[in-house]
């Protein structure tokens, strides 16, 4: 047999796979960083606590024939609570932003203050590769985290109860994971934008956390405060006016990504939720308290989902715009 001709070693590959190299490096950095370990611990602890309460309370609820959602054991696992702690998805609406902010707040400005950004930019790589690598690496990690948690949840549920999972449930849980990832991605792109605009990593972290606190805690209070002083007292209104009043309040509330997320996942995880707004008695008349099919629930949350996606895309586009033309110097 003739020996194979020696492989010709080329100095340069035709197209430097800069993006995948950067992605690999960013993922390694994330995984090895203390920050990620802390965030991971936080999410895992939340998950365990939520699972523990839901598992210990699942029996009476799953056995309750009056409950229209009683067949969805795995959805129950995610939503049932004995009111000592909030259910997992509500917990996540608080914690997921922290995950996004934590992974993105120093994406660009720490590279800049370290003096590594200019060194990177002097290499034959496109600028957007860096931004995209930073974003995708964090997103990839978060996605794996949530997918792993969900699979763990399903596995545990299967072992402990032996109940088969309905296809509808699987779709709903997948939808929940997907929306959660989008929600984190929104906060991630927001914090990356902040990391481009603000020169100090600390300032950008504080600003990110400030925004997070504002939307989760203060936004509702502020909106209620302002609306109460501007709009008439709802108790004096006719039913129609009251509905319109409620619509206004809800729409203003929906500016908060927090609200969008909570609405979306609540509808997906509780199949009996039929509307995100108020329903009149006429609308409810004749309705049987039964779960909605998955497609109907999805239809119901589609505006919320696309809202989150749009917000994320806007932030990311802004980050691109700011970063691409910026002069980089030390």
């Amino acid at each position: 047999m003739k020996p194979k001709p020696a492989k010709v070693i080329t100095t340069r590959q035709p197209d430097a796979p800069a993006f995948s190299v950067m992605l690999g490096k960013e993922i390694t950095d994330h995984i090895r960083s203390w920050r990620f370990i802390v965030l991971l611990a936080l999410i895992v602890l939340t998950f365990i606590a939520a699972m523990y309460t839901s598992l210990s309370n699942i029996k009476p609820i799953a056995g309750n024939a009056q409950n229209p959602d009683q067949n969805f054991l795995y959805l129950k696992l995610l939503t049932v609570t004995d009111n000592t702690i909030p259910p997992f998805h509500i917990f996540l609406s608080f914690l997921a932003p922290l995950l996004g902010i934590g992974l993105g707040f120093d994406a660009i400005n720490s590279e800049k203050s370290n003096g590594t950004l200019i060194r990177l930019m002097a290499q034959p790589v496109y600028r957007d590769s860096l931004l995209l690598a930073k974003f995708s690496s964090a997103l990839l990690i978060i996605s794996s985290l949530f997918i792993v948690l969900t699979l763990l949840m399903i596995g545990t549920g299967l072992i402990l109860t032996g109940v088969r999972m309905e296809p509808d449930e699987l779709l709903r849980v997948t939808g929940f994971v997907f929306i959660t990832i989008t929600y984190v991605a929104f906060w991630l792109s927001l914090s990356m934008t902040l990391s481009i605009v603000l020169k100090q990593a600390a300032t950008s972290a504080i600003t990110g956390i400030g925004l997070w606190l504002f939307f989760t805690v203060f936004y509702q209070i502020v909106v209620n405060l302002i609306l109460r002083s501007l709009l008439p007292d709802p108790s004096q209104l006719t039913q129609e006016q009251a509905i319109r009043y409620n619509d206004v309040v809800l729409n203003i509330m929906r500016v908060s990504p927090n609200q969008l997320y909570t609405d979306a996942v609540t509808t997906l995880l509780m199949p009996s939720v039929r509307s995100l707004g108020p329903l009149t008695m006429e609308q409810m008349a004749g309705a049987i308290p039964s779960p909605l099919p998955f497609t109907q629930s999805l239809l119901l949350v589609w505006p919320q989902f696309s809202g989150l996606l749009a917000a994320m895309t806007c932030c990311f586009a802004l980050a691109y715009y700011l970063f691409m033309r910026r002069e980089i110097r030390t």
Binding site: V21, T116, L120, A122, P124, E327, T330
Partner: protein
């Protein structure tokens, strides 16, 4: 003559109303070591960034290795290694890992990457420190690693921004010697900026003087002085035994000489500023007229004087404007 490897034509950069670089024209030939000399804020770094396409010029073009640096930045960056003035590394990674990362970004194949990285580490004298984290590196070591970082991609041109900043004198000497050696061995073109005259003097074939965004003069050290001082380039001062009495009878005679631009005297010191070297003729004149000469001093302007005159004091600059 072959095409210059770096060619800047009419390069201009405004920051708002501030003019950072003003109509810069410069050619650097292959294999040359060119020094950009100028005080802080003269626009050296901005010019360098424009050569790498890291910032867009307001007007003019920068052509490096035959590519337009603004439009074909990626192609330029493939051939140009750039070391910024405060070079930074990923502190949590070892020196070798930092190098490997840059090598991968440049599309070097995995097969030879590690050997190449070890080789450049050896070249810059960091062979022992390759597995240390860069957080523990001293400034001088970081500078060397920065050079390794530039060399790993086999560049044609190396651009070093203030490479000698913050290193001790011995370190500077070694570093510059290394740059010179590399340039000569591999035929690399080197462009380095500095505000430190002596460093530039040590290695550069040609120097460009950069003040307030303008290139004041360029050339090798000898003809720089000539360009800058023009006809006042040669100053001869003669110290006599006895004080001269004003008005000095020979002053009109000497002033009539072609080569002499100006004569000044006070006490026993006479100074001539001339457009060529006429020291022997002057001495002969004094001897023939029975003056006793104590000493003759011929002053050649070095870069030092240029530096003193233009960079270090604001008054120097206004002096220059007056004389110009």
């Amino acid at each position: 003559m072959e095409n210059p490897i770096i060619q800047l034509t009419g390069l201009t950069k405004h920051y708002g109303r501030h003019l950072a670089v003003d109509n810069l024209n410069l050619k650097v030939q292959k294999g040359e070591i060119f020094g950009l000399l100028g005080p802080n804020g003269a626009g050296k770094t901005t010019s360098i960034l424009m050569m790498l396409g890291l910032t867009e010029p307001t007007a003019g073009t920068a052509t490096v290795c035959g590519y337009n640096a603004t439009r074909d930045a990626i192609k330029v960056k493939k051939k140009v290694g750039y070391m910024p003035d405060s070079v930074g590394f990923y502190d949590h990674m070892t020196a070798l890992d930092n190098l490997l990362y840059i090598g991968r970004l440049n599309g070097l194949s995995e097969l030879q990457l590690k050997d190449k990285a070890l080789e450049v580490l050896d070249t810059v004298g960091l062979a022992d420190a390759g597995l240390k984290k860069t957080a523990t590196f001293s400034r001088g070591m970081k500078q060397r690693l920065g050079l390794a970082d530039v060399l790993i991609k086999d560049p044609e041109v190396i651009i070093l921004d203030e490479p000698t900043l913050g290193i001790d004198p011995q370190g500077v000497k070694d570093f510059l010697a290394l740059i010179r050696k590399l340039s000569r061995q591999k035929g690399l073109t080197v462009l380095l900026s500095s505000h430190h005259l002596h460093h530039v003097q040590q290695v550069c074939d040609r120097v460009g003087l950069f003040v307030e965004g303008r290139l004041l003069a360029e050339g090798n050290l000898e003809n720089l002085a000539e360009q800058l001082f023009g006809k006042q380039g040669f100053v001869t001062s003669i110290v006599l035994e006895n004080d001269l009495i004003r008005p000095w009878v020979h002053e009109p005679v000497l002033k009539a000489w072609d080569a002499i631009n100006d004569v000044s005297y006070h006490g026993n010191l006479v100074e001539f500023s001339c457009n060529r070297n006429i020291t022997p003729a002057l001495v002969r004149f004094f001897v023939e007229n029975d003056y006793s000469i104590l000493s003759v001093n011929q002053k050649n302007y070095g870069l030092d004087d240029i530096y003193q005159r233009y960079f270090e004091t604001e008054t120097g600059k206004s002096d220059y404007n007056k004389t110009a």
